[in-house]
């Protein structure tokens, strides 16, 4: 068996206009049309969304957790990218 696997799709849903699509799970479907319908039938039964994206799981390229430190740690020390790094007298007011 396992010769005829029905492809896996990742499902992203926009909860309401103004918000970004958010990953909420996956479905199995043979093609993109049925994947969208399956996503609708599975993940929006309680009014969870106003728009759906489906993406073949195989099309996602993910960063390697092995490279987590080199990818993400260098940014942690760059505190000057954050507004709190700069000292402005209170008298100036909100900036």
């Amino acid at each position: 068996m396992s010769k005829n696997l029905i492809p896996l799709w990742e499902v992203f849903i926009r909860p309401r206009n103004g918000l970004a699509h958010k990953h909420c799970g996956s479905v199995h479907a043979a093609d993109e049309v049925m994947a969208l319908q399956a996503a609708r039938d599975v993940y929006t039964r309680r009014g969870e969304g106003t728009s759906i994206w489906v993406v073949p799981s195989s099309a996602i390229t993910a960063s390697d957790p092995e490279n987590k430190d080199e990818n993400f740690e260098p940014s942690l020390s760059k505190v000057y990218r954050h507004p709190t790094f700069y000292e402005i007298p209170d008298d100036v007011g909100h900036m």
Binding site: G25, S26, P65
Partner: protein, 331 residues
């Protein structure tokens, strides 16, 4: 659900001490483990086992309640039951998806269910004989499931925890639905009350068994607790369930089929009688009243659906080929 998911799980693992210690440190720091993270093989296997069995329980669990969808006694009950059984299918789907992040396919898990290699919750091997069983299942079985599932929302494995959050959110209506059915029966005619009491008598002990073997007999509890796949022991959860459920039953005037059930002031919980573990193991190993029928029903759906799945794939290949051809022609 189901601590029973750990029965037969192989938690032993072969990684070196430093790797295991580093992994344990992440778990102890309440970090979530995500699919591509390094993890001990034993952790991965235990999760596949537990999530798979949890998913199978949801799918097989559609059958006993599905048995009453066409016979629900009012249109309101019919809609609620259909929506509930549909939810179980959804929960199975979320859980299979979570297990798939660990490198096992839904098809492989399905084959393990059908071959009997993978288990599912023993409770679904009991028959639904009357409408009151639908009330009892919602109230007791879903009540027991919630006890198990709420701590799983904090499980160390991210995809499992996220699936459980979704499941718990949706499942909150299930237990209320069941209790409402029981309440109507218990307050109805003498005949209806008898239905309710009979259902409680039949489902009470199997519900207690859902939490799995007693802690003294549970082989895999320790390692799963350490890895935070499980957050309470079987006996702790069972006690919480009894303490929560007994007052609910008494409130609607039903009695529990356990002469040893009584409030224990000192421990601040109920004492209850001995569970028949022989029956539990008999049902887990295939000797329950409905084991054969449940698997036969799943096998039938799988076999009879094969041509549909093949057709969907065949059509998808044709679509793709046609699209390619159109693109080539346009270029």
């Amino acid at each position: 659900m189901y601590s029973q998911g750990l029965i037969g799980a192989k938690t032993e693992t072969t990684e070196d001490e430093a790797f295991l210690a580093a992994f344990q440190a992440r778990i102890d720091a309440e970090e979530k483990i995500e699919p591509n993270d390094p993890m001990p093989e034993g952790y991965r296997r235990t999760l596949i086992r537990q999530i798979g069995q949890h998913a199978h329980s949801e799918i097989v669990g559609m059958l006993p309640e599905g048995n009453w969808i066409t016979r629900a006694p009012s249109l309101r009950r019919k809609a609620a039951l259909l929506a509930k059984v549909q939810d179980e299918g959804g929960h199975g789907l979320y859980l299979y998806s979570a297990a798939e992040t660990l490198g096992v396919s839904r098809e492989e898990m399905t084959e393990e269910l059908l071959s009997g290699k993978a288990k599912y919750s023993s409770i679904f091997n009991y028959p639904t004989l009357t409408w009151a069983d639908i009330g009892a299942i919602g109230w007791l079985v879903d009540g027991a499931a919630i006890m198990n599932q709420i701590p799983l929302c904090r499980c160390s494995y991210g995809p499992y925890a996220r699936a459980m959050i979704r499941v718990c959110k949706e499942e909150s209506f299930h237990q209320r639905q069941g209790y409402e059915i029981m309440m109507h029966l218990a307050r109805g005619t003498a005949e209806q009350k008898e239905l309710a009491q009979d259902a409680l008598n039949r489902w009470w002990w199997p519900s207690l068994m859902m939490f799995g073997p007693s802690d003294t007999d549970s082989q895999h509890g320790d390692q799963s607790m350490k890895w935070k796949i499980k957050r309470f022991t079987n006996d702790e959860l069972r006690q919480k369930f009894v303490d929560a459920t007994v007052p609910q039953g008494e409130f609607i005037g039903l009695s529990f089929p356990d002469p040893d059930l009584k409030w224990n002031e000192d421990k601040g919980g109920y004492d209850f009688g001995a569970i028949d573990w022989d029956e539990f193991w008999r049902v887990v190993k295939g000797g329950g009243p409905m084991n054969r029928e449940r698997i036969a029903a799943r096998q039938k759906a799988w076999d009879e659906g094969a041509w549909v799945r093949e057709a969907a794939l065949a059509h998808a290949r044709k679509r793709k080929a046609r699209r390619e051809a159109a693109r080539m022609a346009a270029e």
